[in-house]
Point group: C2
Chain length 239, copies 2
DNA sequence: CCAAGTCTTTGATCTGCCTCATGCTTGCGA
DNA sequence: TCGCAAGCATGAGGCAGATCAAAGACTTGG
């Protein structure tokens, strides 16, 4: 995905973006040194602790964000308390894909997170001048759309076992494991997983136990696991 | 949504776009007469009958389309035959939001449909020269993303009754009824509805019957209905 | 106008996941 | 180190929606 060199030649070593681990992944990845400097000047770096709300659904969409470290969840609450998590945002992901006045979903930090924050007005002015960024944003939106539609297949047609297996494979592809190790850390709770997969926490717990018993995965700690039999897991994910 | 006048002053009366009923709704809505002429020259109008496949998942995404009349469904098939419909495309909708090489979903005609077809290469060249179109495409992608995520809430957390009620309200807002009348026509079968809502056809049929019995809706013919008690229907859709 | 096929409705029964209940584990502050 | 709260696991039983079965209701073609 990211093909250019990790270090921009003309960027000062003390610039906040200089050692950003996700610049290539993020929307900023398409910007040259000068454009990147101007871009970063448009907004500060902000930090949220686990559980904090970054944006609330129906709030005016006054800002957009680029997640640099941590994990966010995008969720919606029904009047009676039922919750659906529409997706998780990983480092490099963009928060604020909309042309509407209000946010449609709540974004909360699942783990301590840092984000680059931009006023939407300034952000819009900026992309109008930088076509590459505009195209990148479209690519990101198209990619998110395909991912959301893929999740529709999971929620509409997959069994509990298939959902859990699919979820673990997604984690494996998105959560970086220790170099050399194959242990995958994930900060979300069983409740988050349940609300993402359209299940109840008891079912999530039972299915994970079942995969452990069948020696498909191994639970190292509560929030980390290893894939023991990847083929079998992929098989289980498809049905 | 569409704010400009319905008729472009400089467009010839015999131009295929002249009496296009959905030009304002479609991506073309942002183009001036000259740009629109150039745009339309880039691709022919094509027609598909009910059941025809417009694009197949995993096909190379060589073309993009703008739907002018009819109805399409976007679907995905699991290896064992389970099907999920990710969405329906109504006149004015755009088909081909992706930066990938391949289509992720199959698009089929639910009713006889006409589309403006564009080679993707030419389409990309064109949008690079017309910023307004590029922004409009981003707006469309963002809108579709929000709709898909809203559908995730339905599939993950709503009951069968809530799903059907939500679906009927969506139809009411998107299927134009006869002027003066409140009868809503929809061409999709019970199987399509079931695969869109993550239910079985028997459940769809039972829920529709139940709403009819409760005098919330009235079934005029198999593929058309009237909303008798809209407040109640909206109440049922939310839970 | 009728025959044959397809789509839809309705009924009876089954089952996967939910609900409710309880105990266990883990982490954290006193 | 202990105690307590929050999160997680596990068991028993229930229910919404699936599955199986069969009978209407349109549609199409001869």
């Amino acid at each position: 995905m990211a093909t250019r060199a990790a270090i921009l030649p003309d960027l000062e070593q003390d610039h906040p973006c200089f050692d950003c681990a996700v610049r290539e992944l993020a929307v900023c990845g398409v910007l040259e040194s000068a454009a990147l400097r101007a871009f970063k000047e448009a907004g500060p770096t902000v930090r949220y602790e686990a559980g904090d709300t970054v944006v609330f659904e129906s709030d005016r969409a006054a800002n957009v964000y680029s997640l640099t470290t941590g994990l966010l969840r995008l969720s919606k609450l029904l009047p009676d308390g039922r919750r659906q998590i529409a997706g998780f945002l990983f480092p490099g992901d963009f928060l604020g894909i909309t042309m509407e006045e209000e946010h449609a979903f709540t974004a909360e930090a699942v783990a301590p997170s840092t984000l680059c924050k931009f006023a939407r007005r300034q952000f819009d002015d900026f992309i109008a001048k930088h076509t590459a960024l505009e195209r990148r944003l479209y690519a990101v939106a198209a990619h998110e759309l395909a991912a959301a539609r893929q999740q529709l297949v999971l929620l509409g047609r997959k069994t509990a076992t298939e959902r859990i297996a699919s979820f673990l494979l997604m984690l494996a592809s998105r959560c970086p494991s220790m170099p050399g190790g194959d242990e995958i850390d994930f900060p979300m709770s069983r409740a988050d997983i349940a609300d993402y997969l359209g299940l109840r926490i008891e079912t999530v717990s039972r299915e994970i136990t079942s995969l452990k018993t069948k020696r498909v995965i191994q639970l190292t700690r509560r929030h980390s696991f290893c894939i023991v039999d990847r083929d079998r897991l992929e098989q289980l994910a498809e049905g």
